[in-house]
């Protein structure tokens, strides 16, 4: 994924000129630094000046649903009035009408995230962790080259969050899906990220190796971590 863009919102501006490598990249930075705005720009929710290239194609003119990526938001990732299976089916077809093959793929995705047999439940009858799994199953079914995570697991407890991150890492590796995840917890990045991308002072720094950077933080990251 190649970014060369500027995002503006009111008096706030964020520039990025970098290439996001395959694998899992953690986006870190102080709150208000523009991490979510960056993801919003890539996903098509925030207008960008510049280019967003994914797989060699410029996508910044495309509607959010037509971009080669899936995104999980901080909240409201499921339609509360649709059951889990329908929510997942939306990943394959926007009208949720599936043929036999589609239904099989949907059930396989549900099974992959450990929700076999729970397809008929409404989100309110699922736990927080299960809801996250439904959203992840939908992203698996969508099968787009990139998965953007805008802190979708922030409301889960530490153990559940670690479990979800591991599941993301496993399934992304299976599918060869690139992951760009916002987090404010170095432990999350340390757990699954290959690369680390720091957003600070209106600039998106080029990605660096996650483990090395966390072990010996460069100055900007050190300032954020306070270590």
């Amino acid at each position: 994924m190649r970014l060369d863009l500027t995002l503006r919102r009111g008096g706030f501006a964020l520039a990025a000129d970098l290439t996001v490598p395959p694998g899992i990249t953690a986006v870190m930075g102080a709150s208000g630094s523009g991490k979510s705005t960056l993801l919003g720009g890539i996903a098509g929710f925030v207008p960008v000046a510049g280019r967003v290239e994914i797989g060699g194609a410029e996508v910044s003119g495309r509607a959010p649903g037509d971009r080669p990526l899936s995104i999980l938001f901080q909240e409201e990732n499921l339609f509360p009035h649709l059951d889990a299976a329908t929510n997942v089916a939306l990943g394959l077809r926007a009208d949720a009408r599936l043929d036999a093959a589609g239904r099989a793929a949907r059930d396989a995705a549900l099974a992959r995230v450990g929700l076999e047999g729970l397809g008929e439940r409404l989100p309110r009858d699922l736990s927080g962790g299960q809801r996250s799994r439904v959203a992840l199953a939908r992203a698996l079914l969508r099968d787009r080259p990139w998965l953007l995570l805008d802190e979708p697991f922030a409301a889960l407890g530490p153990a559940l969050r670690a479990e979800m991150l591991d599941l993301v890492a496993e399934t992304a590796a299976e599918r060869g899906m690139g992951v760009l995840m916002v987090t404010h917890d170095p432990a999350d990045a340390e757990r699954i990220a290959d690369h680390l991308l720091l957003v600070a002072d209106g600039i998106t720094h080029a990605p660096v190796d996650a483990r090395a950077a966390l072990a010996d933080p460069p100055p900007a990251l050190r300032a954020y971590l306070g270590a």
């Binding site: 996903a43 098509g44 929710f45 509607a63 959010p64 649903g65 037509d66 899936s70 995104i71 938001f73 409201e76 990732n77 499921l78 339609f79 009035h81 649709l82 329908t86 939306l90 990943g91 077809r93 926007a94 009208d95 949720a96 939908r138 969508r142």
Partner: protein, 504 residues
């Protein structure tokens, strides 16, 4: 969801603009200036203004004690009273008029007690307007009253304020703040009222501009003069709307009227009695006419002529179509308004147009191409959809905004648009406000006696028009039976849509 309704919404908005601008344009083009007005027409303008001013003033003054009683007292049945105050909004005007005739008329209940009320003429017009707007003013005042922070009342109590002090320090400033807006809202409604003037007014000294348009059409067939009058009415509407922009007219929607703040200043027997009398008198005033219609209408139900049932069928068809079209149009407008601000303004601008102005304009537009009389029902439908749109939009807009805020990005990220969005997201999430909007539009259309009176020949009468014709030939018992049918139709439609949208 962004992008889903945008094209549809723009189309509907363009349609609404056309449906407003074309008839108004026809009226302006056809109007022959003020010179075409008959001498009596100046009197119509004068009567329109002063009866509206008196009606608004009376409604507001009488509403104060009722609202104050409801604001400071919790009593069994308070919820029912508040509900009752909301009912006149969907009660067909002609039914209320008939009820007032049954109570205040020459052979009514009051006459039986020896009290004479000048029902036909200004007395009746104002009485009917107070009947409809006293509840509205009460609800709006109550809303303001309940917005007083409980802390302030507690402070007043800690300072040892008596009822007079509370009135002076808290309530009078409150009334001064909201009173003018409420007065203007009622004034506006009373300047465009047609059915009341048609049934109770009409003499040389109690004709409104709206009624004068009708008379110029029906009796004199003087299209030029009718257009001039319509222009006058339009100027009145636009002027009042401009005034309303500066005054912040309250809406009367939303805001719950449930709780009663605890107070310490009203526990004297005298105030208790005063509040009880205010609430009881208001309820009696609202319920007696309905009771009278029920009392005299039920025995006549079996004798209703077939023509009345046919009219009821036509009303039902118009109302159902109006409900569905209004809800659909309002949804399209609301979705488009998310991104294009002026669209919401178009939806509300409809308020400046009156039914008779639109009707007169449409008549002028249609005449070169078709026989307008043959199109009475479609035109009635169109005008009713237009007039219901502001209410539907007001009911729908907040829910659409919430939906966009909560699930707009999710739907967009999954590429859900058009019918898929409507089926999976829009209809399930917006069912309740859509049902409310449809119910409101259906009830208003079923009870409307406006354009249809302008256009229809006897064979196409809707139920309100059939009722009016029965009243005109003094077949009062049958008219009251028809009124029951009409109330059942209006309230039934409202309840059916509203309840239906709640059911799982």
């Amino acid at each position: 969801m962004t992008g889903v309704g945008a094209r549809w919404g723009l189309g509907v908005a363009a349609g609404v603009v056309a449906a407003l601008v074309l008839p108004v344009g026809a009226v302006v083009w056809r109007a022959e200036g003020l010179g075409a007005l008959a001498p009596g027409d100046r009197g119509a303008l004068w009567f329109t203004l002063w009866q509206a001013a008196v009606s608004a003033t009376l409604s507001l003054l009488l509403a104060v004690p009722v609202a104050r009683a409801l604001a400071r007292r919790a009593f069994p049945g308070r919820g029912t009273v508040v509900l009752l105050l909301g009912a006149p909004f969907i009660l067909p005007v002609i039914v209320a008029v008939l009820g007032l005739v049954a109570v205040f008329g020459r052979s009514g209940w009051l006459a039986a007690l020896g009290v004479e009320w000048p029902l036909y003429g200004w007395g009746g017009v104002i009485l009917a307007h107070v009947f409809f707007n006293l509840p509205l003013a009460t609800r709006l005042l109550l809303q303001a009253w309940l917005s007083v922070p409980p802390e302030r009342l507690r402070l007043a109590a800690s300072l040892g304020f008596g009822p007079g002090d509370v009135m002076r320090v808290i309530e009078r400033p409150l009334l001064r703040a909201v009173g003018p807006g409420i007065w203007l809202a009622v004034f506006l409604i009373c300047t465009t009222s047609f059915a009341v003037a048609l049934t109770l007014g009409g003499g040389p000294r109690s004709t409104t501009v709206e009624l004068a348009i009708y008379q110029a059409f029906r009796f004199d067939f003087d299209l030029g003069r009718a257009a001039s009058l319509a222009l006058l009415q339009l100027a009145l509407g636009v002027g009042a709307a401009l005034l309303a922009l500066r005054l912040a007219v309250p809406s009367g929607f939303g805001a719950g009227l449930g709780g009663v703040a605890e107070r310490w200043d009203h526990r004297t027997p005298l105030l208790r009695a005063q509040d009880a009398v205010a609430v009881a008198a208001a309820c009696l005033f609202l319920l007696a006419p309905m009771g009278a219609v029920l009392w005299r209408g039920v025995p006549a139900l079996p004798d209703l002529p077939a023509s009345v049932w046919a009219a009821a069928g036509r009303s039902l068809a118009v109302a159902l179509l109006c409900a569905v079209l209004t809800a659909g149009a309002a949804l399209a407008l609301a979705l488009a308004a998310l991104r294009t601000g002026w669209i919401e303004a178009v939806g509300t601008a409809v308020i400046t147009a009156s039914p008779l102005v639109l009707g007169a304009g449409l008549f002028l537009l249609l005449r070169p191409w078709a026989n307008p009389v043959a199109l009475a029902l479609p035109v009635t439908l169109l005008v009713n959809v237009l007039l219901s749109l502001p209410f539907a939009l007001r009911a729908l807009m907040p829910a659409v905004r919430d939906l966009d805020r909560d699930f707009g990005r999710l739907a967009a990220s999954l590429g859900m648009t058009g019918l898929a969005w409507l089926r999976l997201v829009g209809l399930p999430r917006l069912r309740r406000p859509l049902g409310y909007a449809a119910g409101l539009a259906g009830a208003l259309a079923a009870g409307d006696l406006g354009v249809i009176a302008l256009f229809a020949s006897p064979g196409q009468a809707t139920l309100p028009l059939a009722m009016y014709q029965l009243m005109g030939s003094y077949r009062m018992e049958e008219a009251m039976a028809a009124a029951l049918l009409l109330v059942a139709l209006s309230l039934g439609l409202f309840a059916a849509f509203e309840r239906g949208s709640r059911a799982a």
